[in-house]
Symmetry: C2
Subunit: 343 residues, 2 copies
């Protein structure tokens, strides 16, 4: 087969030199005019801008980057290995969408469980391959964040930490989610509540657990928190674990789970054990997409808007990079309603 080859670089893409020739000015003048420098005359600026417009001038990113160090790149560092249908794709998409009208490109850097989580971050900082980084799945004490902060490298995170550091973040209020869920379950008369939490390494797992235990204590309820399994495990592992739990004594009648996959697996397990949702038990699930209602309309759903997170993080990070004070540097998205079909 014939291979597609790189085109000979005889492209007529205009540079500052082209504009200089066109306007009869020096390259430096053209550069400064486009930057709206104070020591360039108004009509010169107009003339230059007009020529730039007419020729479709776009600054060469490599030139800018080499000279100034500015990459015009935002890097998104993701651990997407376990992701099936939750946050990841929405986050990528919403960040890229928010960057569409800016000069920034989005670079996606996945990292893998066989790898030091520091590696991508270190690479980005050391090689100065990005102007800023977005991280997700923050840990209570996160070495990646510690590193970037110590290097003064701009970043924003999806999720908070317990570290005493001020940086842009967007977090879903998982404690509020738990409280909301517990109250919804209580309203349906559920008494034996059960939480399937995210992996404890992630900070938001602690928030979810805290909200769960607090609210249950307030209502004087006994609770149980799954151990040895988390909501990021594979569906079949969750199914197995939940089946075992349902068959054991004092099976729970009110479930709280943090992901779509976990919800599906839990319902499967329950039904295999002869339990009916809405009858024998109820389930509250958090999901980033709107899916579970189509699976079992009886599921009580709390929606997490990841699109909003991406847009927020993109804005906050670019603001931080450019030294603009972001309107709101940090945001806690507190859910207030559950979505469920009335019975």
């Amino acid at each position: 087969m014939t291979l597609v080859k790189i085109a000979p670089t005889d492209s007529q893409r205009p540079t500052l030199k082209t504009l200089a020739q066109e306007t009869g000015l020096a390259i430096a003048t053209v550069s400064r005019a486009l930057k709206n420098a104070p020591d360039i005359g108004e009509d010169t600026k107009r003339r230059v801008r007009e020529a730039a417009e007419r020729l479709g001038y776009r600054p060469n990113r490599a030139g800018v980057r080499l000279r100034t160090g500015k990459t015009n790149v935002i890097a998104l560092v993701l651990s997407t290995e376990t992701d099936v249908m939750n946050h990841t794709s929405r986050l990528i998409y919403s960040i890229a969408a928010a960057l569409r009208s800016t000069a920034y490109h989005l670079v996606v850097m996945p990292f893998f469980s066989d790898q030091d989580p520091m590696e991508p971050v270190r690479y980005l900082v050391e090689t100065e391959s990005a102007d800023g980084v977005v991280l997700n799945q923050t840990q209570p004490d996160d070495p990646r964040i510690r590193y970037m902060a110590s290097r003064g490298f701009p970043f924003a995170t999806h999720g908070r930490t317990d570290m005493a550091l001020q940086h842009p973040y967007f977090d879903f209020d998982n404690a509020a989610f738990s409280r909301l869920g517990v109250r919804a379950l209580i309203k349906r008369g559920r008494k034996r509540l059960f939480l399937l939490p995210p992996p404890m390494a992630h900070n938001y797992a602690r928030h979810m657990i805290a909200g769960f235990t607090e609210e249950a204590a307030l209502q004087g309820l006994q609770i149980e928190i799954a151990s040895g399994i988390d909501s990021d495990a594979t569906a079949s592992r969750i199914e197995e674990a939940m089946r075992a739990r349902f068959c054991a004594p004092h099976a729970p009648d009110g479930l709280l789970v943090g992901s779509t996959t976990a919800a599906m697996a839990a319902v499967s397990a329950a039904e295999q054990s002869g339990l009916r949702i809405g009858g024998d038990f109820d389930l509250v699930a958090k999901e980033a997409i709107r899916f579970l209602h189509r699976f079992r309309p009886e599921i009580i759903v709390v929606h997490e808007d990841v699109n909003r997170a991406g847009a927020f993080l993109a804005h906050a990070l670019t603001a931080a990079i450019e030294g603009r004070a972001p309107e709101h540097g940090q945001f806690l998205d507190t859910p207030t309603t559950t979505e469920s079909n009335p019975d």
Copy 2:
């Protein structure tokens, strides 16, 4: 003789200049040594490589890009607006994963329905912001592909076209999917087959329809193809359309759909109409993730491996960029088995 030097101001990352000072060679020599040029002595090369290794030298991407035009970027142009849980995130992820061990970064460029599909492609080619592009959702006659081919710009596509052009692609054999599905439905005694196809603008919709009609004709069956609705529509719109169809005369008893969302919506609609899957009708669905079996185990699933597509496209494209002949430039992934629980 040579003194062991302390790395000068270790905050600065090493450049060719650093290596030149370190080895006592000229910058050009260092550059050529690292490129393994034939006119550099063996022990000089060794000395340079050792110094590069020791100081952790990594070429500055901006410098390379400015001088050579090589960006070391692969751009993925995506229309992800309708995507909820199908290909997109897997594609991003698998391409990024395959590029991990290379010098390439993955840049994600989404595009929107309010936008000319040519815009991102034109931007990339004109500004030379990438060494190659991956496209998905190919059309039978795709102007984006025509454009890139005419400019000699390297690209690879997820999906084929009907154009007489040789370029790297990975495609799922949707005609084979249809044939497989039709046979599975016939085996279950279904007689009134119904296809909910993808949008006709996408080339693979035609393959799916062709396989469907061919196999049905071979078996002497009557068929029906949904019109006015496609499998990329929102779940609620699909649900509505299918509900209407189920209530009308001669309701189908064998369904073939091309996406997870469509399958869920179709089952919902059927059940709302009092029809039971496995009893009153059967459903064959194609999905990129393994989800539907947890929804309704009765669904007959054909799995499409998007991870494989991403890995393939990444390899084929980098090979094309670098002028290496790819082992296999084009690949048609033909499904051979359905996944269903035995009844």
